[in-house]
């Protein structure tokens, strides 16, 4: 049976938005600051921790469970940059089974193996697939596994839509003991309006933005080296951005229950920003207090 050790944090966001990159860099920054960190990839793609461990193979928990009746921690984990313990939950063969239940089973196994008691982490980061697609994927925020959740989003509408869905899930589960929201991490900030758009969405939902991560060539470069920015380019500005995020997570325990937008509100909000972006891009001059 598991006693909770350290801070358990779930990081959600739409697929392809940069969750794993962000999570891995936060893990690396926390490790660099001297903390013991476990990162658990909760995605059937099982590539959450790749850049923490130089791209080396790591059998997933579910693949190992399929092959062996008895699983040991060393079978399913690898020590990555800065001593981060990397674990990938994995998933069923594509097209069959239930990936949500897979995450459930993987987390149960970690508790069974007493990973948290024995490794004594200061932080456990769960990098969870995309949107809240079903009850299974909500398990980390629902069943008291994570204390806080963070949402990674870009200024693309579909990413915002996914973030709003996650707010709905947190709003539903937090009152009955589920995780609360630590904040939004704005990722891939490039366009002139991106920051303002995410800021406005967060404000409408009553949640803080804990950091803005600019789109940077250093991220792509580091990933091609199979490393986090913290490891590959520690002196870069981008590395400092991730360190700042890590410091926020470390020093700040604030959390909120978000107020998600309902269907018509979200549509209205999107239309408002559609108009504004068009005006910015086509050079219409008027009062732009939010940009």
């Amino acid at each position: 049976m598991s006693e909770k050790q350290g801070k358990h944090i779930a990081i959600y966001g739409k697929g392809g938005i940069g969750k794993s990159t962000t999570t891995s860099n936060i893990s690396a920054a926390l490790a660099e600051a001297g903390y013991r960190v476990i990162q658990v990839g909760c995605d059937p793609k099982s590539d959450s921790t790749t850049i923490l461990r130089g791209g080396n193979d790591l059998p997933t928990v579910l693949d190992t469970l399929r092959e062996q009746s008895k699983v040991r921690l060393e079978d399913i984990s690898a020590v990555g940059f800065g001593g981060v313990l990397c674990i990938e939950a994995g998933g069923p063969v594509p097209g069959v089974g239930c990936a949500g239940r897979g995450i459930n089973a993987a987390v149960e196994l970690l508790q069974d193996l007493k990973v948290f008691e024995e490794y004594k982490p200061d932080f456990v980061l769960y990098d969870v697939l995309g949107d809240v697609v079903c009850g299974g994927f909500a398990v980390p925020i629902r069943d008291g596994i994570a204390d806080r959740a963070f949402v990674v989003t870009s200024s693309d509408f579909m990413a915002v839509f996914a973030a709003n869905n996650l707010f709905k899930a947190i709003n539903k589960y937090a009152p009955s003991g589920g995780a609360r929201l630590g904040g939004v991490i704005a990722n891939s900030i490039q366009a002139s309006y991106s920051k303002a758009l995410i800021h406005d969405f967060a404000e409408e939902s009553g949640v803080p933005v804990i950091g803005y991560v600019p789109r940077s060539i250093t991220v792509a470069q580091s990933e091609l080296y199979g490393k986090t920015v913290i490891e590959a380019l520690p002196e870069s500005e981008q590395a400092e951005v991730y360190r700042k995020l890590a410091r926020y997570i470390d020093e700040n325990n604030d959390s909120v229950i978000p107020k998600p937008l309902n269907g018509p509100e979200l549509k209205k909000w999107a239309r408002k920003w559609g108009d504004r972006i068009f005006e910015v891009e086509t050079g219409v001059v008027q009062k732009m207090e939010a940009i």
Partner: protein, 470 residues
Amino acid sequence: MSYLKTKTPRIREKRLDTLNAWLGPAKSAVGEFAGDEAVQRIRTFSQSTNDDVLHALRILSRIENSVTVIHAPRGCAAGALYHKLALGQGNWLVTNLDQKDTIMGADRKLRKAVTSAHRTYRPEVLFILSSPVAAINNDDIQAVVDELQDELELPVIPVFVTGFASRNAVTGYDIVLHSILRQLVRGREAGERNGRVNLLSVTEHRADIQEITRLLTALGLELNILPDHATPGSFVQATGARLSLSLNQDAENYLGTVLRDEYGVPYQAPGRPVGIEATGQWLVAAGKAAGLEQAAAELHRQESARIGRELGDFSLSGVRVYLSLPPGMAFSVASLVEEFGGEIAGITVSHLDVLHKARLEDIASRHPSLQIHVADGQPFEELNILRRIGPDLYIGDGNHLGQVGRLGIPVVSLEHSRLLGYDGTLILCRRISVVLKNRSFGQRLASVALPYKESWLQRSPNWHIKKEVK
């Protein structure tokens, strides 16, 4: 570290090394539990078996002033229907999950069912029993519990059985007991010391409980009987008891263990009081733990003399008996058979685990080659064994006693039958006498063919029991 922090307890395989498939001599069975971890076997074909949902319903149907909302498709309520129809126990409703519920989630339906159950039965405690469908679907039962518990002003206890997490149905007992303790007593200080003795009883015959109560109250002990026929207050009171006494470790070991480890209530599990000798030992052990050893020994002298007179010259000398029962019951009836001079021809138990280590060692020291078969609901394996062994008498409680009868073996069924204490012993011995004397029914049944092809029965009985190779 608290047992009650998690939503469910560890499954039996992990907590007690429980095996549900095995066949071999007693001496090898002992070896299974000699190492750190027993090697699990799998059945490549299973004829039928119980699951944790059924076992959970057994306990829930016996909690006083309670109602159970079964959050499941309607078929999962069949077990509850059985308890209600056959035994007149347990109020229940089923949420009747359908196709749409599995896609959209069924929180609303559950809320409605709980409210309706409360309005209809006005219970003192309300249980929500999960099911395989609710577990796979990840329905958020806890949210409904948190919401309605305050509104309805009564304990609403979620019981998270899955039907598949464990191969051993007895895990269902642990889950119910865990859920009750977690909801009713977790985080509380131990109850005020009340000097009572917790009599831990799961699914015992009512008359058996009366017999045990008669004996213990004769010693001057005040009892708190649970979980059978208990109320929520019984569980709170249990944390302040002077002692917990087990009647059947297989079922209530988890309850005794948690009360001991978390609330400091000593837990005594001196076997089962079946047979004159064992009842005496049980009674003396209970008396000793309560500081009443002399009185218990005296009571045993009186009672055993009375039963001895009643039994007259009853003897099982020369009778080879096969037992097919849950393990605690099987080992205790085996002692009774030997006490009256009978011989154990073989034993089928529903499961086997570290709780039975001492009994296995005892049996293995006297009968190292005695065959132990571990099977829950595998009549064809058992019939295969019985044809080879050819016992004179069969004592069991399964659903396949008719099939055993077709082998021409006299059968005593222990289902819904009295067994415990001096009076239970007397009743069982008399039933055995009748069955052994009146063989005409058995002889008639023997003319009916078995439902299995001869080629099946030619295979070794452990044909389908394999070691996991991965």
